[in-house]
Symmetry: D5
Subunit: 92 residues, 10 copies
């Protein structure tokens, strides 16, 4: 079951560059695992913004919330979720 | 080069059901061709709305505009374009 | 799997009172069936607006889109869908 | 008398993880009591957000304000209240 | 139980000046009755707009919806309802 | 001359509970005086928000600004002012 | 007593060029009279828009509403009114 | 050449009352000079807000930016600029 | 003196394809002349929209309004004007 | 390939005037280099705001993101990117 998300990240000013680097390393690992499992089908940087679009493939709304809230940077993210259905013109 | 789009369709009230059916058939063919050529990488219905998200892969901004403005329903669409870059956490 | 929706209805000015009454009768039947099947868990009028909140319980995003787009008044509705997950404080 | 609410929680950056855990424990108890009394008919997590939808059943606007402002996290919440009426198509 | 409302009126272009005059006469009577019954505590024109603020005093959300949807111009109104509670600083 | 206002209060995070209590006591006195003078005709809590609607009756725009900017909590308020005129359907 | 307004004009599509010319002539006369009476202190075109800013000087909110609703094009205007007070830095 | 501006001031929480008083005194002088030079034709407080509307008369866009960015409080202002042209109904 | 504009075009539904073609031909000539005169320094299509960004170089606000309101499609345009000043980092 | 951008800069309150001056010097050098390379075709200050419009000419979306995220002040910028195509009326 597919969902399009947009995630915008805003770090609080008190975080040091080291803190942020740690978050980014953990995020890369977490995101990579989700991609290898097929739960993230694609993730793209939005040009000029600290934000991404990602396409999730999960079984349930609950699973999606669990996956999203497990992102290391989740406390600093604003997430917008758009549920997707099959498009009648899609050839897949 | 990738772009995420959101297209919302609103038909003017004077269009008949037959007119709309003709538009939809032409749209399906046009969209199918773009998918077969790889210029649309994915197209998804937004649940509950006469709208879609689509992922385009084209060479230039000009090509994207040409492709979008060629949709049979283009005069009735509101299109929002988001340019995408490679995400550092993407494994592809 | 639960979703909260908000549906706002706007009839085009050319619809007669009779047309609207027909739509409303068909809508009542369609909505009643969904409630009896348990796919709508609750539907409430928003005070002062031709709009409602409804709580849907369906298996998939695709099923939700099929159910929503089957409403007789769907062409005149603006629908906003919010996917829901279990709340950690819910006692149910 | 029914009301739909949406509550969004934002903690100020100076709160420690312990402070937040205390708030969450008190919140769980407070929310559980309201559910057992029937004053909250349902509460759901909004997927991907630190937010919920809840359905309240209380006697008056004043009672609703008293209940909402009693939430332990109320100072950190943004609450939107939508008064509900019986929907003509509801079978309940 | 008090509610503040804002009502904005937009007539469709096909209504004649006579139609509008009839609506306005019926509206005046309907509104006057609600004021005499005490269900409208005050109604004020918003300067420069075809809109008003009104203060309603009714028993329930359902009664408020019934009263609002009974306005002759209701099909041409956009209504925003704000539930009110006693203010701790009010001396009444 | 009447004006509807909406005031939203946001305290900065560094204010202590004691500071806030002092503000609230001064606010209660200030607001009470305005009500006894008839310059505030009514003040109501907006359910679920640290906000109010108030109906002011003053002689001039300048007097209204002086009264509003004299509120002890004014530096922490966002105020929206709507000038009101007599409504043709008002029976008062 | 001063108010800043912004008026945006939108003519319905069925109005002919002649109708519009008649409206514009009546508007010019009405606006000119208000300026000669000093009730409009200044009126300026907003560059690139069929809109203006005007500065009104009237005795009361009621007078302002009467003046605004008397504009020949009032039914086609969207008006936003901002009440003004003396600025402490104004040298006038 | 005329421009309407709206300036909203927000002081950061760390500024002391003394700091603010110094800013206000410098602002009064700066604003007074611009008025005496005729570069500000009028400045008005927006009722209930720490904001003003001002009417500027300068030679160029560059001059306007220089004047605006020279305000002592400029770092704490949000400024909106609307270029004005002669209105065909203006009698001046 | 430079201004950035964004123009969005919406044709009313009653215009025929021929009417639109006539407008487009007149628009092309008008726009071309402005470019040859240097009053338009650049004009670009916004991808996926019937809209453009253009950079104007004119002497005054009044001249800009005259030029904009002279576009054949002006009655069907929504125009947003942003006055520009020299940027301190510009090397031109 | 062209893109119009709007960049708004907001410095966090803890930055000193010296810190800001360092950022501005580095920004000037970075921006100057991009202009000399032709990757920025023009950059303009938005009057009254700490913001600019810039016109970029780059090969790909990825290059644009790399260039934008390399700005020394990027962490303090909000950037909006609009992809541009050739306008049919452009004479260039």
């Amino acid at each position: 079951m597919l969902y399009m998300t947009r995630m915008d990240v805003t770090f609080p000013p008190h975080l040091s560059a080291e803190d942020i680097a740690v978050f980014q390393a953990r995020e890369k690992e977490y995101s990579g695992n989700l991609q290898r499992e097929g739960r993230i089908q694609g993730i793209w940087r939005i040009v000029g913004e600290y934000a991404n679009h990602a396409l999730f493939d999960v079984e349930t709304n609950d699973e999606l919330h669990e996956v999203l809230s497990g992102f290391p940077m989740y406390p600093y993210m604003k997430v917008k979720v758009t549920p997707l259905a099959k498009h009648p013109n899609s050839i897949r």
